[in-house]
Amino acid sequence: MKENITVRQVLDAPDQKEQQKLYNKYVKQVTPAFSCVKNTTRAFLVGGLICLLGEGLQQLFQYYDFNEKNAGYCTNLILIALAVLCTGLGWYSKLAKFAGAGSVVPITGFANSVASPAVEFRAEGQVYGIGCKIFTIAGPVILFGILASWVLGVIYWISTFF
């Protein structure tokens, strides 16, 4: 069974470090959290629907004689455009409030993370506002994404010697 920390224990802690540790544990006990099952279900449903939309677009383009690769490009373009449009209209944040990871993980989430700073920081100018701050959220994803793919590339290159 998990240990139950009381306020008394926090107040009686021998030193500040111990007190901070105990207080954090105590706070965790008394802080409500959202249901994981509910969140995961919503994420699964909305994330799945966004992917279903993508698949539908893909099939549609292929039906109209696009090859698989080009159909994929067009699908991505449309999903991104839709997400940016929804961001500008303030709908995407409402969707994300319901869907959580379901709306963050697909490509639409990435589009939202680029478009939303652009909207917010427009007031600070084209260069210092939009230019400097458009990637404040997506920047780390791009940087570490490229780094990770480079590392994988090196590993793949080494594996070709054996």
């Binding site: 009381t6 207080y23 008394v30 959290a33 939303s116």
Partner: protein, 371 residues
């Protein structure tokens, strides 16, 4: 050279005062409190809030509700300044004064370098002190203003604070249109500004007659310390501030030799549901229960079920508009005789947060009495 000062010989004045025992008579009470011999009056107040606050349970108490979050401006920061300017002007007019009559202005907000306040009060041309106490700024400005007035350094002082949901989100969290989920313990920054005019008895004559016409004085103050219990979660600021509130309330009880029984209400600033629970438990454990008398401005200002604000309201504006709109009304109508107003602040900066530093809290205690 002819002296330009009215005290021709400052040293002689000092010696004379010392002889009369005047310098030795301190107004301090206990370790961190002051009890006013001539309690400064609240001459007038104003609360200006946004639409969401206006739709909340306290909506009918606020002086003005502005449905346009941009206040006709182009940026959130300018909008916040517009809230400040409006609150100041309304408070001055409610006190029946002119802005030339006000000696000093003490105010601050959450935006970096106090952008909201300094740009908002520019047009008033009142000598200005900019202060930062995070969400406890109303407490800090009331404290300093009342000290100035009671210390006879000013006849009347204007104390003002503000916050804006969108400006705070932009600076401390994410762009508004970014899609993310706020945890259950997160609070919602109040959009609004509260202004109070504090002055001595001689300024009392002009106040506009309103429904509740009683006078309110600041009877004493307790200045809080920075209290750090090691919280790092910026989405649970109630937990970060609760120990600071407990520390200040306990100090107030100790310094004045009182208990919760001596107050009609002990109103904390923006602890929210999580912080309020922690505070009450902490006070109970220390043998100073406040549960029956405690209210939290952050919990009161929104309908927590219907307005989707999670743990409650927060921000400088939260305690400021609840004081100027609701609490002062209750004092003026004599429903409350004496309250302890305890605005709470989480000393969080976007830099300290990313450098993985703790979020210490601070709280100020102000004793308000109806006369």
């Amino acid at each position: 050279m002819e002296s330009i000062f009215s005290y021709k010989n400052p040293e002689a004045v000092h010696t004379e005062r010392k002889k009369q025992g005047m310098v030795e008579v301190m107004k301090t009470k206990g370790k961190q409190s002051v009890e006013y011999a001539n309690p400064p009056y609240i001459l007038g107040e104003a609360s200006i809030v946004g639409q969401k606050e206006g739709e909340g349970p306290l909506g009918s108490y606020f002086h003005e509700i502005c449905n346009d979050p941009l206040m006709g401006e182009k940026t959130w920061e300018k909008a916040e300044s517009a809230f400040v300017e409006r609150a100041c002007n309304l408070a001055i007019s409610n006190a029946g004064m002119r802005r030339e009559d006000i000696n000093y202005l003490v105010g601050g907000d959450l935006l970096a370098q106090l952008m909201g306040t300094s740009f908002g009060v520019e047009s008033l041309q009142i000598p200005f002190f900019g202060i930062y106490g995070a969400c406890s700024t109303m407490g800090e400005s009331l404290t300093l203003s009342s000290l100035l007035v009671e210390g006879e350094f000013a006849k009347s002082v204007l104390a003002v604070t503000s916050s804006h949901f969108a400006g705070a989100e932009k600076q401390f969290r994410f762009p508004l249109a970014y899609g993310n989920q706020r945890p259950a313990a997160a609070t919602w920054t109040v959009t609004g500004s509260g202004a109070v005019i504090i002055g001595n008895e001689s300024c009392l004559t002009g106040r506009k007659k309103t429904a509740a016409s009683g006078n309110v004085v600041i009877r004493g103050i307790t200045v809080g310390r920075i209290v750090d219990y090691g919280i790092q979660d910026s989405m649970n600021m109630g937990a970060a501030m609760a120990p600071a509130a407990a520390s200040t309330i306990a100090a107030n009880f100790r310094d004045f030799g009182v208990s919760a029984e001596d107050y009609d209400v002990i109103a904390t600033g923006d602890l929210g549901t999580v912080g309020s629970r922690i505070l009450c438990e902490m006070m109970e454990e220390q043998g100073m229960p406040i549960g029956k008398k405690h209210m939290d401005c952050g919990v009161q200002i929104y309908d927590l079920q219907k307005q989707d604000v999670h743990a409650g309201g927060s921000g400088c504006g939260c305690s400021a508009v609840t004081l100027t709109g609701y609490l002062l009304y209750k004092l003026r109508s004599k429903e409350y005789r004496r309250i302890l107003f305890v605005p709470t602040g989480a000393m969080l900066s976007p830099v300290s947060f990313h450098e993985e530093m703790n979020i210490p809290g601070i709280a100020y205690g102000i004793i308000l009495e109806s006369r």
